[in-house]
Symmetry: C2
Subunit: 356 residues, 2 copies
DNA sequence: AGCTTACAATAAAACGTTTCACCAGAATTT
DNA sequence: AAATTCTGGTGAAACGTTTTATTGTAAGCT
């Protein structure tokens, strides 16, 4: 039996009785091609089930339809959704994606960047681990790079992110207005730009409320320990504001474990709105990031660069939405204040929160 | 200014003062290489920041470190987690992943399969949209294929899945034992093999409980409508068992919207355990799939094939875990039965519905 | 009829690798 | 000392494309 390999352009040419160049011309829709020959080529392609070898194609043409995507963690639903949207958009423009996860590790990120370079992608979309991204980019990297979600220390990249500061500030202001007097803010690490921006936004927005920050790291047992200890200590803060998805999950679970009730024992709000946050009772007040739109913008920016547009790097910020739910009701402390002015006492006991 | 392009092996050779063949030998760890020359080559590589062009490399060597991954939907956290684990394992073996989503659409899946073929991957890992996968695989596809999670109609592939039937059966038996007399089973579509297996497992496991199946499709407004109508009709079933992640989300949300309480109005259980299911109160009884282990097995199977192992296709089934939580308590009906032996009457009135 | 233009198709070079056949010299055997 | 085997290294071919330059032919112009 014949050593039949996956068909090459040469086999197509032979079967169609034309030259390889003609086959290539037909396949790439070059104008100078007679209908008759085109038909013969197309027939041969169909009969053989020929599919172009993109590796060889890129090698010669120096054009590739491949872009690399690097995210800190694929299991994070935010990033998964980001990649998913990206994948869809890329396909519409006939690009493919090589996706890698840096596992929240700067070294791995650097390693993956180097590796991905070996595919000679036409561009890169990266959600960097931390601010020192520029140092990790291989020096001789020519393809355009778009950064998303997190801001690097060094300038020089197209950038798409959300308005972390104002959005976090809105939550803080909300808690403030609801009458909470002190709020603990929890986040993974201030070395991540968006967490830092959120914290700064909180500080800028509060008026009467006192805030304190607690960093618990990423997958850091030590940090989780510190958080738990704080939650067991008294007095509790009136409110808790968690600044990123991982931290929210950890915190919410810890509160449940310790037996703290939301909002009975403390109010709770989160940056990053997950679907379960409207399924639990009471729902959790959260900032919802326009993650699909972020992916869209990232793709648009990259596409612009890949198709040759020059010019200064641009930075775009997207507006977040704030979802107020039952986990941040009017503070009982404040209610107590109002009651003196004739509030109805039973309300306090019957409905510890206002579910909306 | 010189037209400096990304460095090639030739530039490395020139700088090191050796032949291209020698550079290649050094880089690929060929044994016949003097330490002196190796050092010179490595120096040149470092100075130039040379990274091999994997496209060209594959073209000549006919070996590639690329595998394609096709999933029905990247936003589904199950699949996201699957891909994430896969990505990690692949990296350990120095493979890269091209990831595409078929968006729950057989046509798109076929399209993506054709497209991914153009990269000449060393193998494919696919979670197929439906049973007719074999027909969609391009005919001249030579790379090994491992299917996961869902079973195709046609045999001939390595296969890794979970024990859908027994696991779903365990839930059904649990509901039965808890005293529920009728249970509505909801799933996206019986054309998806694992949903079908789960439904069959339910039917095989029930003893006294009556079960009925409701298919609501995937992203099908019509199906959602039918579900909602059913939930508004009386009498309600004693229990609801949802057979896949998407359906669970939809159902749980619908119940909340309609104002049904779990387990007050009906018991609820789910195939697929999401993290929020232990965060809501009461927690939701669910089947937990070993999704990471599934990815591990898929990778192991594929790796075996890619490294040349022949032999008949194998099928492996993994054991699911069943998490019993508060959403499936002892049936009030059964409690009522017990009451005749001295139960407390008021309990019956607390439950508003009377099945049958 | 001659001369240029335009057109359709092709041969051959090039892309960056790996591999294969080969070679010079050193080391070993006869 | 001559003949053989190793050893470390190289030139050139090959992989499957695209592109450039080139060809042959038909059409358009005096």
């Amino acid at each position: 039996m014949s050593k039949s390999r996956t068909p090459s352009i040469k086999m197509v040419a032979d079967r169609a009785g034309v030259s390889v160049a003609t086959v290539s011309n037909v396949l790439n829709g070059k104008p100078t091609v007679s209908p008759d020959f085109a038909r013969r080529v197309n027939d041969a392609v169909r009969e053989l089930g020929y599919v172009v070898d993109l590796g060889a194609s890129r090698l010669r043409s120096r054009k590739t339809q491949l872009v690399g995507v690097v995210v800190p963690d694929l299991t994070n639903p935010m990033f998964a959704s980001f990649v998913s949207t990206l994948e869809h958009l890329a396909r519409l423009d006939d690009y493919d994606l090589v996706v890698v996860s840096a596992r929240n590790n700067a070294e791995e990120e650097a390693d993956r960047l180097r590796k991905i370079r070996a595919w000679r992608p036409a561009g890169l979309i990266v959600i960097p681990c931390d601010g020192a991204f520029a140092e990790r980019l291989p020096n001789g990297f020519f393809a355009p790079v778009v950064l998303a979600d997190r801001i690097p220390d060094a300038a020089g990249f197209d950038l798409i992110a959300v308005d972390n500061g104002p959005a976090a500030g809105a939550i803080a202001a909300h808690l403030d207005e609801q009458g909470y007097r002190d709020c603990m803010v929890v986040g993974s690490s201030l070395s991540i730009s968006n967490v830092r921006e959120r914290w700064e936004g909180v500080q800028a927005a509060v008026r009467r409320m006192h805030v304190e920050m607690l960093e618990i790291g990423i997958d850091d047992a030590n940090g989780a320990q510190r958080l738990e200890e704080r939650l067991r200590r008294r007095p509790l803060p009136g409110a808790l504001f968690s600044l990123d998805h991982g931290t929210t999950l950890l915190t919410y679970r810890a509160m449940a474990e310790i037996g703290l009730s939301v909002p009975g024992d403390l109010a709770f709000a989160s940056f990053d709105d997950m679907e379960w946050m409207q399924l639990v009772a009471p729902g959790i007040t959260a900032v919802r990031q326009p993650i699909e739109e972020m992916a869209e913008q990232a793709w648009a920016l990259l596409l612009r660069r890949m198709t040759g547009s020059a010019g200064k790097p641009v930075t775009r910020r997207l507006r977040c939405a704030v979802e107020i739910r039952g986990s941040t009701p009017r503070s009982p402390l404040e209610e107590a204040g109002n009651m003196k002015l004739g509030g109805e006492k039973w309300k306090l006991q019957d409905e510890p929160y206002s579910p909306e």
